[in-house]
C-alpha cells in the first residue's frame, strides 16, 4: 500500500475544509476525510498482515524514499511496522471521535477543523517516518495547531495554558533537535552521515556519544509524554482545551512522545538506554504514584483526567525502561489503550460540561438519572482507567507489570510495586469522581431538564469504546501485531546487555 496516502488524504481534507461555506459543510468534510482515513488505516492493517505473511524477516514494510535535502543526506523515508500501525489506528479512531463530538461551534469553524486535521496529519506523518529529520518535521507540524486550538477555542485561562503548552513542547523539541543533530553528526562512522533510522539502527553511534545524546532525546520526547518532571503543561493544557483538542492532546499528542522515546531514543541508542534505565524507571515510578496522588486532590473533572494521564503515561515509560520484550509490548499497548480511554473520558466530560456548564465535582451530582448514556460512558471510561478486566487498560497494565517483574533487581521490583500500588489510588480517585458526579442525589434543579447524548456523541463514544473493548477481550489481536516488531527492537537491547 502506498503510505503517502496517509498524508495526502488529511492534506486534501484540510484544503477542502477551507472552501467550506458554513459550519455544517466544514464539519461534514472533516468527518468524511477522517472516516476515509479510518478505513484506510484498517486497510493498511490488512495489507500489513498480508505482507508479513509473505516476508517475515523485514522489520518495516511499504518503504518509500524520496530525496529531500540530498546535500545533507536527508530523505523523505517512510515505512511501517506493527507498532506504527497500532499508533495509526489509534490516531484514526481518536480523530473520528473527536470530530463527532465537535458538532456545535459558534465561530471560526473552518479554522477549527482545519487545525484538527492538520494536527492529525502531523501525527500520521510522524508515525510513518523512518528518517529522523522527517519525523521531527512532522512532530513540529503537530505542535503548532495545539497552541491555536487552545488559545482560540479554549476555556478558562486559555491564553496562559496555550502559551505554557507551546513553550514547554517547543522546549522539548529543542532538546530533541540537539539529540538528532548529535545522532547525525556521530553517524559518520558508516561513511556518510545520515538521518536514516534504518542505517542508524544498524550502525549505532559510539557509546560515548550515546551517553551524551540519549538524555536529550529521551527527555525531549519525555516532555511530550508527560515524563516527570516535565509534565506540568498537561493539566493546564488539557483543561483549557476544547473537547476535541483535549482528546487529540491526550489521545494522540502524548503518544508521539512515547513513540519517540521508544522508536528514536531507545531503538537508536540501545546501549545508553541500558545505562540510563535505572533513572528512567525511577522517574516513571515517581510519575505513576505521584501523578495518582496528585489526582486525588483535584476538583475539576478535566484536571482529574489530566493528572491521571500523567500517572498512566508513566506506565509507558516504565515499560520502555524495563527493556524487555513483555514490558515494551505492554508499553505500546498502554499507549493505545490510554489514547482510547482518555479520549473517551474527555469526550464524556465534554458532553457533561456542555450541558451542565460546570466541571467541578462538587457541583455535579446524580447525572446518571438524567443522562444515563453519557454517565454510563463516563463510568465505563473510569472503570477502564482503573484497570477493570474486559477493557484495554487491564491487559496493557498487566503486560507492563508482568514484564517489569521479570527483572529480579530489588529496586526494579520496588518501582513495580509502587506502580502496582497506583491502581489502588486510581480506584480511589475514579470512584470519588464517579461517585459524586454521576451518582448520588441530583444537586441542582436545572439538571433535571438536561438531555442525554445526541446520535453523533453516541457514535463517538461507541467508536472509542469498541476499540477499548476489543483490545480488552481479545488482546492477542494487538499483541500479535506488536510482538514481531518489538522482537527486532528488543534483540538489539539484549545484544548490548
Amino acid at each position: 500500500m502506498n503510505l503517502l496516502l496517509l498524508i495526502i488524504i488529511p492534506f486534501l481534507t484540510a484544503v477542502v475544509i477551507l472552501t467550506a461555506k458554513d459550519f455544517k459543510q466544514s464539519r461534514s468534510i472533516a468527518l468524511v476525510g477522517a472516516s476515509i482515513q479510518l478505513v484506510l488505516a484498517f486497510f493498511l492493517l490488512n495489507q500489513y498482515q498480508a505482507a508479513k505473511a509473505l516476508v517475515q524477516t523485514e522489520a518495516f514494510v511499504f518503504e518509500q524514499s524520496f530525496e529531500w535535502f540530498p546535500s545533507l543526506g536527508i530523505q523523505f523515508l517512510i515505512g511501517v511496522d506493527g507498532i506504527s500501525i497500532a499508533m495509526i489506528l489509534l490516531t484514526a479512531l481518536v480523530v473520528v471521535a473527536g470530530i463527532l463530538v465537535s458538532f456545535t461551534m459558534e465561530e471560526l469553524h473552518k479554522e477549527f477543523f482545519f487545525l484538527l486535521i492538520l494536527l492529525s496529519l502531523g501525527a500520521y506523518g510522524f508515525f510513518i517516518s523512518l528518517d529522523i529529520f522527517t519525523l521531527f518535521f512532522f512532530l513540529e507540524v503537530a505542535v503548532i495547531p495545539k497552541f491555536l486550538l487552545i488559545g482560540i477555542w479554549g476555556s478558562g485561562a486559555k491564553q496562559k495554558s496555550a502559551m505554557k503548552l507551546a513553550l514547554m513542547l517547543m522546549g522539548g523539541s529543542a532538546l530533541i533537535m540537539v539529540g538528532l543533530i548529535g545522532l547525525y553528526y556521530f553517524s559518520n562512522e558508516t561513511g556518510n552521515r545520515s538521518f536514516n533510522m534504518l542505517v542508524l539502527a544498524q550502525y549505532p553511534i559510539s557509546y560515548a556519544a550515546q551517553l551524551v545524546f540519549f538524555p536529550f532525546l529521551f527527555a525531549g520526547f519525555g516532555v511530550f509524554t508527560a515524563l516527570f518532571p516535565f509534565h506540568t503543561w498537561v493539566p493546564d493544557g488539557h483543561s483549557s482545551a476544547p473537547t476535541a483538542a483535549s482528546m487529540f492532546l491526550a489521545g494522540i499528542s502524548m503518544k508521539l512522545g512515547g513513540y519517540g522515546c521508544l522508536r528514536v531514543a531507545t531503538y537508536l541508542m540501545p546501549d545508553a538506554a541500558v545505562h540510563y534505565a535505572p533513572i528512567i524507571i525511577t522517574l516513571a515510578s515517581i510519575a505513576i504514584i505521584y501523578g495518582a496522588f496528585a489526582t486525588l486532590m483535584q476538583t475539576d473533572l478535566k484536571y482529574i483526567n489530566a493528572y491521571s494521564s500523567i500517572s498512566h503515561c508513566g506506565f509507558v515509560i516504565l515499560g520502555i525502561g524495563m527493556l524487555n520484550k513483555t514490558a515494551i509490548v505492554g508499553a505500546v499497548m498502554q499507549m493505545v489503550s490510554h489514547g482510547l480511554m482518555t479520549a473517551l473520558f474527555f469526550a464524556a466530560i465534554g458532553m457533561m460540561y456542555q450541558r451542565t456548564h460546570t466541571r467541578l465535582v462538587s457541583q455535579l451530582g446524580g447525572l446518571l438519572k438524567v443522562m444515563p448514556f453519557i454517565s454510563s460512558v463516563f463510568v465505563i471510561a473510569g472503570l477502564c482507567s482503573l484497570g477493570l478486566p474486559g477493557f484495554s487498560g487491564f491487559v496493557s497494565e498487566m503486560t507492563v507489570f508482568v514484564g517489569a517483574w521479570q527483572n529480579p533487581n530489588f529496586w526494579y521490583r520496588l518501582a513495580t510495586i509502587l506502580a502496582c500500588a497506583s491502581i489502588v489510588v486510581t480506584a480511589v480517585y475514579i470512584l470519588r469522581a464517579a461517585g459524586s458526579s454521576v451518582m448520588g442525589p441530583i444537586t441542582q434543579k436545572n439538571f433535571l431538564h438536561l438531555t442525554d447524548a445526541q446520535w453523533n456523541e453516541k457514535l463517538a463514544a461507541i467508536v472509542l469504546l469498541s476499540g477499548i473493548v476489543i483490545i480488552g477481550i481479545a488482546p492477542f489481536l494487538l499483541t500479535d501485531l506488536l510482538s514481531s516488531s518489538t522482537d527486532v527492537l528488543v534483540e538489539k537491547i539484549i545484544n548490548t546487555f
Binding site: Y290, L296, P389, G403, Q406, V424, L431
Partner: protein, 643 residues
C-alpha cells in the same frame, strides 16, 4: 453433551442476560417489563447445565475425583514465555462451586421477581445480577491464576454496581466505594503474589504451578525457596500476598470493614454476593492453591488459621451487639467464613490429614444455603416492615408463617443443632481443629456458643417479643416468587448435611470416609443449646434485661458495639495520613514547586529580554562602540590562536 459445552453454556446464559438487559434494557419497553422473567429463565438454563455437569462429575467418577482441564486457550502471550490462558478446570471443588453458585443465584433471581417488582431500574438490576453470576462462574472454573484474578476483579465491580444500586442514596454510594477500594487494596497484594508465584513458577497455570511449587524436587521450587526478601522466602511472600487478596474478598480481619456497609445493596443481592458466593472466594482461592500451601509452606497455613479464628471470634462478638438485622447477618457471615478459613489453616495434605480441607468446603457448601436463606428471609421481613432495625420488628411469627419456619430452620442450622446441615459441617471443622490445634478448637467452641446466641437473639426479637404498632399493615407475607426460594433453601438446609461430603471433595481427590463421633459432638451441641436458651431468656419477651446487661458491661459493650473502632482507625489512616500527608503535598508540590520552576524560567526569560532589549537602543555611537569592541576581541582571539 460434552463437558466443555456444558461449561460454556453455563457461563454464556448469564452473560447473555447481562448483555441483553444491560445494552437494550433501558431503551426497550418490552425488555424493561420482562427483564425479571428473561434473567430468571436464562439463569435457570445456566443452573440446568451446571447441575448436569456437576452431578455427572460426582456420580460417574468414582472413587477418585480427577482434575480435568476442559479447554485452554492462550489469551495473552507474554514475551517471557508466560501467558494468560483462558480455560476451565473441572475438579471436585469447582464442580461443587458451580452447583452452589448457579442454584443460589437462581433462587435470588426468583426471589427478586417479587422483591424488586416495582423498581424503576428493574432491567439494570437483572443485568448486574447476570454480570455477577457470569463473573463468579468464571472465577470458580478458572484454570489460570491470572484468569481467576480477572474474574475476581469482575465480581468486585459487579458487587460495586449492586451495592451502589440505589445510587441516589449517599450512603449506598459510599458503601459501594468502600467495598471496592478495600478489596482493591487487598487485590494489590494478590497481584504481586501472582507476579511472584508466576515468575518463579514460570507459569500462571494452576496445575503447572501447583505441580512445580509443591514438588520439592523441581528447579522452580529451589529457585523460589532461595529468593528471599526481608528474611522471608519468595514462596512465603507469594502465598501470603495471594492470601491477602483472599482475605480482602472474604472479609477477614483487618480487611473486613467493607462487608457490613455492603448491606446497603438490595437484600437479595446481599444474599447472593455478600453471603453465599463472592465472599467465600477467598476460601476458594486458598483451596485452589492448597497443595502449595500445605506441602511447600505449611507455616503460612498457621497464619491463615489464626487470622480465620480471630475473625470468627471478633465478628461473633460484634454480631451480639448490632441492632440492624442485616448487619448482624453480615458479621455472622464474616464469622462463618472465619470458620472455613481456619479449617483450611489446620488442615494438612493427603488422605485423613486433609480432613480440615474437606470440612472447610463442606461448611462453605452448607453455609451458602442457610445463609442465603437467612438473608432472603431478612429481605422478606424488611419488605414487610419497611425497616432494617430489630426494634421495629417483633411478633412476626403469625404474620409471616413461611418466613418464620424457614428462618428458624436456618438459625438452627447455623447454630450447629443436629440434624440440620450446619451441624455436620461445623462438627467436621471442630473435629479437624481439635486434632491439629486445641487452642483454636476451644476458641471455635466459644464462637459457636456466641453464634447460637446472636442468631437466636435475632430470631426471638423478630418473631416473638412484642408486636410493634407500625407494622400492622394489611399486605401479606409476599408473593409466591418470594416464598418458593425460602422453602427450597429451607429444605436444602435440612437435608444437605447428610451428604457424605468428604467422600467427594478432598485434598488429593481420594475419598475420605465420613464418620460422626457422637461423644465429640456433645460439647458443641450443648453450647449451642445453651446459647439458644440464653437468647430465649433474654429476648423472647420484651424486657429490660438486655439493656441492663449492656449497662453493666459499660464501656466494654460500647467498644464492641462500635466494632472495636476499626473503621475509625481506617478513617484516620486514609483521611488524616494519606490525604493530608501524601496527596495534598503532592498536589501542592506540583502546583508550586515544579510548575513554579517553569514559571520562574519564563519570568527569567522575560526579564532578560527586557535587559537585552536595552542594547538595541538605536544610538549610532553605541553601535560603533560595540562594533569596535567586537573587532578588538576577534582580533585578539585570532592573534591568540595563530600564536
Amino acid at each position: 453433551m460434552q463437558n466443555t459445552n456444558l461449561v460454556l453454556l453455563t457461563l454464556a446464559s448469564p452473560l447473555l442476560a447481562f448483555l441483553l438487559l444491560g445494552i437494550f434494557g433501558s431503551s426497550s419497553n418490552w425488555l424493561k417489563k420482562g427483564a425479571g422473567i428473561i434473567g430468571t429463565l436464562l439463569m435457570a438454563v445456566s443452573f440446568f447445565f451446571a447441575s448436569q455437569l456437576s452431578l455427572a462429575y460426582f456420580l460417574n467418577q468414582t472413587p477418585n475425583h480427577t482434575q480435568q482441564i476442559l479447554f485452554s486457550y492462550t489469551w495473552l502471550q507474554f514475551g517471557s514465555g508466560l501467558s494468560i490462558d483462558m480455560g476451565a478446570l473441572l475438579d471436585a471443588t469447582s464442580a461443587m462451586m458451580l452447583l452452589v453458585v448457579t442454584f443460589i443465584s437462581l433462587m435470588v433471581h426468583v426471589f427478586s421477581l417479587g422483591y424488586m417488582h416495582n423498581d424503576e431500574r428493574f432491567a439494570s438490576y437483572y443485568a448486574y445480577l447476570g454480570l455477577f453470576t457470569f463473573s463468579m462462574l468464571g472465577l470458580v472454573i478458572s484454570a489460570n491464576i491470572f484468569q481467576i484474578y480477572m474474574f475476581w476483579e469482575l465480581v468486585g465491580v459487579s458487587s460495586f454496581l449492586l451495592i451502589g444500586y440505589y445510587f441516589n442514596k449517599q450512603s449506598a454510594v459510599a458503601a459501594a466505594k468502600k467495598a471496592f477500594i478495600v478489596t482493591r487494596f487487598a487485590d494489590l497484594g494478590f497481584l504481586i503474589g501472582i507476579l511472584t508465584l508466576g515468575y518463579y513458577g514460570e507459569s500462571f497455570d494452576f496445575l503447572t504451578l501447583i505441580g512445580r511449587l509443591s514438588d520439592v524436587q523441581s528447579p522452580q521450587f529451589a529457585a523460589i525457596g532461595v529468593a528471599s526478601f526481608a528474611g522471608i522466602s519468595a514462596l512465603t511472600w507469594g502465598l501470603l500476598l495471594v492470601f491477602m487478596g483472599g482475605a480482602g474478598k472474604s472479609a477477614m480481619f483487618p480487611l473486613h470493614i467493607w462487608l457490613p456497609d455492603a448491606m446497603e445493596g438490595p437484600t437479595p443481592v446481599s444474599a447472593l454476593i455478600h453471603a453465599a458466593t463472592m465472599v467465600v472466594a477467598g476460601v476458594f482461592l486458598v483451596a485452589r492453591l492448597f497443595p502449595i500451601f500445605a506441602i511447600a509452606a505449611p507455616h503460612t497455613l498457621d497464619i491463615i488459621a489464626y487470622i480465620g479464628i480471630f475473625s470468627a471470634l471478633f465478628a461473633a462478638l460484634i454480631a451480639c451487639t448490632q441492632t440492624d438485622i442485616k448487619r448482624v447477618l453480615a458479621y455472622s457471615t464474616m464469622s462463618q467464613i472465619g470458620f472455613m478459613m481456619f479449617a483450611l489453616g489446620v488442615s494438612g495434605y493427603g488422605a485423613e490429614n486433609g480432613a480440615g480441607f474437606s470440612a472447610s468446603l463442606f461448611h462453605l457448601f452448607t453455609h451458602a444455603f442457610f445463609k442465603s436463606l437467612l438473608f432472603l428471609g431478612a429481605g422478606a421481613i424488611i419488605h414487610y416492615v419497611h425497616s432494617n432495625e430489630m426494634e421495629d420488628m417483633g411478633g412476626l411469627r403469625k404474620h409471616m408463617p413461611i418466613t418464620h419456619i424457614s428462618f428458624l430452620i436456618a438459625c438452627l442450622a447455623i447454630s450447629g443443632i443436629p440434624p440440620f446441615a450446619g451441624f455436620f459441617s461445623k462438627e467436621a471443622i471442630l473435629h479437624a481443629a481439635y486434632q491439629s490445634n486445641p487452642a483454636i478448637y476451644y476458641m471455635a467452641l466459644f464462637t459457636s456458643f456466641l453464634t447460637a446466641f446472636y442468631m437466636f437473639r435475632l430470631y426471638f426479637s423478630i418473631f416473638w417479643s412484642t408486636q410493634k404498632a407500625a407494622q400492622d399493615n394489611a399486605h401479606g407475607e409476599g408473593t409466591w416468587s418470594m416464598k418458593i426460594p425460602l422453602i427450597l433453601l429451607a429444605i436444602a438446609s435440612v437435608l444437605f448435611g447428610f451428604i457424605p461430603f468428604s467422600e467427594y471433595v478432598s485434598t488429593d481427590g481420594k475419598p475420605i470416609a465420613t464418620h460422626l463421633d457422637v461423644l465429640f459432638s456433645i460439647a458443641p451441641v450443648t453450647l449451642g443449646v445453651l446459647g439458644i436458651l440464653l437468647a430465649k431468656q433474654l429476648y423472647q419477651k420484651a424486657s429490660v434485661k438486655p439493656q441492663k446487661i449492656a449497662l453493666a458491661l459499660g464501656s466494654a459493650y460500647g467498644f464492641v458495639k462500635n466494632k472495636f473502632y476499626i473503621d475509625e482507625v481506617y478513617q484516620y489512616i486514609t483521611k488524616k495520613m494519606l490525604f493530608a500527608w501524601v496527596a495534598r503535598p503532592a498536589a501542592w508540590i506540583d502546583k508550586n514547586i515544579i510548575d513554579g520552576f517553569y514559571l520562574l524560567l519564563a519570568q527569567l526569560t522575560q526579564f532578560s529580554s527586557v535587559y537585552i532589549k536595552g542594547i538595541q537602543s538605536g544610538k549610532v555611537q553605541a553601535y560603533a562602540m560595540y562594533f569596535f569592541a567586537g573587532i578588538l576581541s576577534l582580533a585578539s582571539l585570532l592573534f591568540y590562536v595563530l600564536k
